[in-house]
């Protein structure tokens, strides 16, 4: 059962990423990214992290991608600009990168041994445990991230103003 789900989710995410990088219309690319994010949320759930799967759908697919869609709808491209623009020799570069990374995959398959899985504790990935970790061990990064989010909000507002 787990293998079937893994292959379904990974197949969906890889196919939708392929479609994402080759569509002409950025709106269609954004929708394929939403599909890829939903499939990734499924993978998270398979990795015993159901809380993070739900957070991924809530934050990524529900908020960030809506933001993307708003911007794409604001920047309405006319029909003549919708031909996809690739860099010169784009297909060659893409194929070269693809082959390089396929070789990487091949090497990683043959040259390392599998780690055995450790037994998971009962409260693995529980929101309560995550909260405790956030407040004790990772307190400084937590505070830094909240300051960074504040900086991001202020920066975006300033960037979006029409005149100062």
């Amino acid at each position: 059962m787990e293998s079937i789900l893994f292959y379904i989710f990974s197949g969906v995410s890889i196919i939708s990423s392929l479609l994402l990088i080759t569509r002409a219309n950025p709106l269609m690319s954004a929708l394929w990214l939403v599909v890829a994010l939903a499939a990734t949320a499924g993978i998270f759930a398979l990795l015993s992290a159901p809380f993070l799967a739900v957070i991924q759908v809530l934050v990524y697919a529900g908020a960030i991608m809506v933001l993307f869609l708003f911007v794409i709808m604001l920047i309405q491209l006319g029909p003549q600009q919708l031909k996809p623009r690739f860099i010169r020799f784009g297909k060659i570069f893409g194929a070269a990168l693809g082959i390089y990374f396929l070789l990487l995959i091949g090497f990683s398959l043959t040259s390392s041994t599998t780690m055995p899985a450790v037994a998971l504790s009962e409260t693995f990935g529980d929101p309560g445990v995550l909260g405790e970790l956030l407040m004790t061990k990772y307190l400084v990064p937590f505070e830094v991230i909240s300051v960074m989010l504040l900086v991001a909000v202020v920066g975006t507002v300033v960037l979006g103003k029409k005149k100062f």
Binding site: A30, Y60, A117, P141
Partner: protein, 100 residues
């Protein structure tokens, strides 16, 4: 039987596809979306190792990566809008005022 390798290969494939998207497309919006795809691939690796080691620290790191990705998307889209207002284009090829 799904081993750690399966998840690592999946994550590598997604990262590669994101990298290809960044390199070969010129539309800034699609480049941004490919960057988000790369961040997702990293999340999968963090969670896979967290599960195979039996520790929750990977989950906390994924939370941080999600927060950073959200902030970066917001600021990046602000830059895209500012760029569009100035030059009426979203293709990175057309921003070449400093060139040659």
């Amino acid at each position: 039987m799904i081993t750690l390798h399966h998840y690592l290969i999946l994550s590598l494939a997604l990262f590669v596809l994101g990298a290809i998207g960044v390199v070969i497309r010129r539309n800034v919006l699609i480049m941004f979306m490919s960057v988000e795809l790369m961040l997702n691939a990293v999340n999968i690796v963090l969670l896979a190792f967290s599960k195979w080691n039996g520790r929750d620290d990977g989950h906390v790191m994924v939370l941080f990566v999600l927060a950073i990705a959200a902030a970066e998307a917001a600021v990046g889209l602000g830059i895209v809008i500012a760029m569009y207002r100035n030059k009426q284009t979203v293709y990175s090829d057309d921003m070449k005022v400093l060139k040659g």
